[in-house]
């Protein structure tokens, strides 16, 4: 039953229909409602209990209970959402958008000292 | 005349001298001097012959010579009988006795037109042959000086019988000269037998079992051909009163005799059912092979066939010869693919090339004959060069396996270059083979011989395969291979370099060779003006191609002088160990990488093709012979 060029039909159909290729990066990235992008924190809800840090399988989160600092190494996070699941205060959630590639890791710090807003601190990895 | 007499007799005299010489230095002197003498005489004779367009014929009282020949033939018979008895090869004795008695009987009783014929003659063709034999043959003798010294250094197990060896070489040369100059078929037959016996003795040189067996194989096959020759002589003498080659060529309609002679030619040029002997000849020291494969033995066969080619146009003999030739060309070039022993590859390629020449001869028209003769010249020189270089490499590295020639260009650059030239001379456009293929293709199309067209088309593809892979092997460069000291003897170098120069020069002056030599010859043979086979424009293009190849290395160096290179080891999946010769294997150790050519034994293996080809070609011969003989009655 072997036939030559059995694939012709599909190939010709493809040739004369529109390609399925996304427009990305010109267009938007495709995400779903449940997409796990990156972890975000509502720092006001956080009580610095360190549970998330303790249960993070990749050790991406550091929580300083005394100085009230919550810090995440974005490039160290494996998007498992374990922290989101364990946080009793529901301070954490998963964004749909994900961290952009970069030459250096992005380590984000929330909380004290004083300023509540986020301060991005791009550290050279070799110095880390 | 004296020149011819010199060429025929002098080698025999030298041979006798050498037989008595036990001293290396004296032998050296004798060989070199006589080689120079023979070459010089042959050059003067042939070139003056060619330039003056002289066609010499000699009529003379030959009674004494005839007597000598009869004695000689009896001597040969005796020799065969004694050795055969010693090794219990009775079949051979039967063959030898049959044909010798046939000839002697004929000479004594059936020789009617004894006095009237020309016994010795020379024309362009003999001149060409004479040049080939002298130049290539003598250089091989010189080469043998150095080679045999090394050979016995490496092979202590064999008895050093060098006097015998050199004697045979020179006898061989003398016989070859005799063969080409003879017009009388009986004389020709006599020399024909000498070459058979000489090759038999040379092949058996080492006296090992295999050598003995192979030598007998060569003997019986050639005797079989000789038998054909003898029958043809008798047949011609009785029925047509023809005893000379010229008479034969001039007369038409002696199909049976032509077939028989062609049959003899096929055996001598080792065409398909009789290829075995030439392959077996490989066991002999390399100069033997070089001699058998290029200047002498097999050339005797194709010489005869080419001589006969005007008689084979479009008849059964022609069909037989061209079919066998074409078939041999294709079949043996396929087998050559599966061989890795360099000498064996060369042997198959000889058979294959001779197949092409044979096919050309069998084509029986001017164009193919033209191609055949040209190919004969190119082949003789290139093949001799190749055999000698393989021999030299073998003496250096202890192996003649092509696989062991990996990266030869780094280890023994000079030898490698010589070998490269030889291989290119064999097949690469614009060299020898190309031209002949071209003419042959055209001629066979014109004569409507489509089977041969196909055979040539396929055969040239397979030929290309085995040569190219050999070529590639030579130039494979791996890091850190070092130049090895080259201890090749000076006499060997002399011969190698002269050959290489000869190959290149021949290629460059090929248009002149063709126009000045071969075209008039063919015109003469066929008594018609041959058409332009390769136009001038095309010849110029070919010369341009050749020049391109020669200039390329220099040109590229200039072209790329500005490029910034970085040397980097070759890719092995990321696990080379340091250089590009090894990698980390599955057990974490170093393992040498090894690259081998393809041999495709399952498809082209000797065992797959050889026997089938034997049956097929025997079939072709038998059927066509039967048809010929049947048709005559």
């Amino acid at each position: 039953m072997a036939t030559l060029m059995r694939f012709t039909k599909t190939v010709m159909k493809n040739l004369f229909s529109k390609p399925v290729t996304t427009a990305y990066p010109a267009g938007p990235a495709k995400v779903q409602e449940r997409t796990r992008g990156q972890v975000s924190i509502d720092i006001d809800k956080c009580v610095y209990c360190t549970l998330c840090a303790m249960r993070c399988p990749a050790n991406a989160i550091k929580v300083d209970r005394n100085n009230k600092i919550w810090e995440i190494d974005r490039f160290g996070c494996i998007q498992c959402a374990n922290c989101v699941n364990v946080c009793a205060k529901n301070a954490l959630s998963m964004d749909q958008h994900y961290t952009s590639p970069a030459a250096k890791s992005v380590i984000v710090t929330y909380g004290a000292p004083k300023q509540e807003s986020e301060k991005e601190q791009a550290e050279n990895k070799s110095e880390k | 005349m004296s020149f011819i007499a010199f060429l025929i007799c002098f080698p025999f005299i030298v041979a006798a001298l050498l037989f008595l010489t036990k001293n290396d230095t004296i032998r050296r002197v004798i060989v070199i001097l006589s080689a120079i003498a023979i070459t010089a005489v042959a050059l003067i004779f042939s070139i003056s012959g060619i330039v003056n367009n002289a066609c010499l014929e000699y009529l003379e009282d030959t009674h004494t010579i005839d007597q000598i020949m009869i004695i000689g033939e009896l001597a040969i018979l005796l020799l065969i009988i004694i050795t055969s008895l010693k090794y219990k090869k009775y079949f051979v004795i039967l063959l030898a006795i049959t044909q010798t008695s046939l000839i002697i009987w004929f000479e004594e009783f059936g020789y009617k037109s004894h006095e009237k014929i020309v016994h010795i003659f020379s024309d362009r063709f003999t001149n060409i042959m004479c040049l080939v034999i002298a130049v290539v043959g003598c250089m091989i003798c010189v080469y043998a000086l150095g080679y045999m010294k090394d050979y016995h250094k490496h092979h202590k197990e064999y008895v050093d019988r060098r006097p015998m060896f050199f004697t045979l070489l020179f006898v061989f040369l003398g016989a070859m000269f005799g063969l080409v100059f003879s017009n009388n078929l009986i004389w020709m037959y006599f020399f024909w037998e000498i070459t058979s016996v000489c090759s038999y003795l040379l092949i058996g040189y080492t006296k090992t079992n295999i050598a003995i067996n192979n030598s007998f194989k060569a003997l019986w096959m050639n005797l079989l051909g000789g038998l054909g020759f003898a029958i043809a002589i008798v047949y011609l003498g009785f029925n047509h009163d023809i005893v000379s080659l010229q008479q034969l060529v001039a007369s038409h309609g002696t199909l049976i005799a032509v077939s028989l002679l062609a049959f003899a030619g096929l055996t001598k040029s080792a065409q398909m059912p009789f290829s075995g002997w030439l392959l077996g000849a490989m066991v002999a020291p390399t100069p033997t092979s070089a001699l058998l494969h290029s200047a002498t033995m097999v050339n005797a066969g194709v010489y005869l066939l080419l001589r006969l080619s005007p008689l084979m146009e479009g008849n059964l003999a022609g069909i037989m010869v061209s079919l066998i030739g074409g078939f041999t060309f294709f079949a043996t070039s396929m087998i050559a693919i599966s061989q890795s022993d360099a000498k064996k590859v060369l042997a198959y390629s000889t058979i294959s090339n001779l197949g092409l020449i044979t096919a050309c001869a069998g084509g029986g028209n001017a164009e193919t004959t033209w191609a055949g003769i040209l190919l004969l010249i190119f082949h003789a020189v290139s093949k001799s060069l190749l055999f000698q270089s393989v021999g030299a490499v073998e003496n250096e590295t202890g192996s003649r396996d092509i696989e062991d020639m990996h990266g030869l260009i780094v280890r023994y650059p000079h030898l490698a270059y010589i070998m490269l030239i030889g291989i290119c001379g064999m097949f690469l456009a614009p060299f020898g083979m190309l031209i002949s293929k071209w003419a042959a293709l055209k001629a066979f199309i014109d004569t409507g011989n489509m089977i041969l067209v196909l055979l040539i088309a396929f055969g040239s593809a397979t030929t290309m395969f085995y040569w190219t892979k050999w070529l590639a092997k030579l130039i494979s460069v791996s890091h850190r291979s070092k130049i090895h000291p080259d201890r090749t003897e000076s006499t060997e170098w002399f011969s190698l370099i002269s050959h290489a120069v000869l190959v290149v020069v021949l290629c460059l002056v090929f248009p002149f060779v063709s126009m000045g030599l071969v075209e008039p010859l063919v015109t003469e043979m066929f008594e018609l003006d041959i058409p332009v086979i390769i136009s001038k424009g095309n010849m110029i293009i070919m010369i341009i191609m050749l020049c391109m190849i020669i200039i390329l290395p220099v040109a590229v160096r200039i072209l790329t002088s500005k490029t910034r290179y970085k040397k980097e080891i070759s890719y092995m999946g990321g696990i080379n160990t340091g250089d590009d010769r090894g990698f980390v294997d599955s057990f974490g150790d170093h393992k040498d990488m090894y690259l081998s050519n393809w041999y495709m034994n399952d498809y082209f293996g000797e065992h797959k093709i050889f026997n089938i080809s034997l049956w097929l070609s025997s079939g072709i011969i038998i059927i066509l012979m039967v048809l010929t003989i049947g048709g005559a009655f």
Binding site: L15 | A461, A472, S476
Partner: protein, 288 residues
Amino acid sequence: MLEVILRGLVFIIAAPFVGGLLSGIDRKITARMQGRRGPSIFQSFYDVRKLLSKQVLIVNSLQHMLVWGFLIFVVFTGVLFFAGEDILLVIFSLTTAVMFMVMASYSVNSPFSAMGSQRELIQMMSYEPMLLISAVGFYMATGTFNIKGIMQANIPAIVYLPGVFAGFLYILTVKLGKSPFDLSNSHHAHQEMVKGITTEMSGSVFALIEIAHWYENVFLLGIVGLFIVSNQWWSWIIAGIVILITFFLEILIDNTSARVKWDVMLKTVWAITLVVGGINIFILDIIR
């Protein structure tokens, strides 16, 4: 003579553009057949421009020389062809060119490169008879090996040589390195040979090979055209159309078949050569 030189020059200058564009179009059509957008049709030029600007890693300098030999002989082949010289000579020149390529890739002593060159040789061995038979066919159909002469024929060669043409199309797939016969160096998909004969070539050395392939492809499609043209002007238009159809067909075949193994290739190519090409010339011989 002047005309010959002129034609040669036109080929030398124009062929890379045509060849590069063809390869770009090839990639675009291929992409669309696979349902994706694909690169720009000038992609091949971008690639070569990049390669020319990159650092050259070589294993030995012999390699570079041989690659140049390949390019020069391919160009020479094309020049001979478009200058209207002898077709046998063209074929022999092409063979020489490929031999240079084979040696270049073997000379580097690298496993995949060496394997690739052996495969390239097999490919050559398989298509060579058909190439020669095509030349024979042309000679039989038009009475000359001379390309200029063939183009002047009263009746286009294809009329006499339908079988040979079919056979030629078959080996064209081998020659263009298209699936199912992309054994020695695959442009698409991955293969066990890594990049086959080009594995060890980088930067401008590799660019030379790409350029040589452009020349080669133009020349090969030229042979396709040679089957069609006659001394009628409109035959040139038909030849153009046939070339385009052939080109498309090759892309289609490329996209609808798996790479076969060398033995299948050798057997089928030889069988096709023998059956289609052989029978064609036998018949031609009889009716002549």
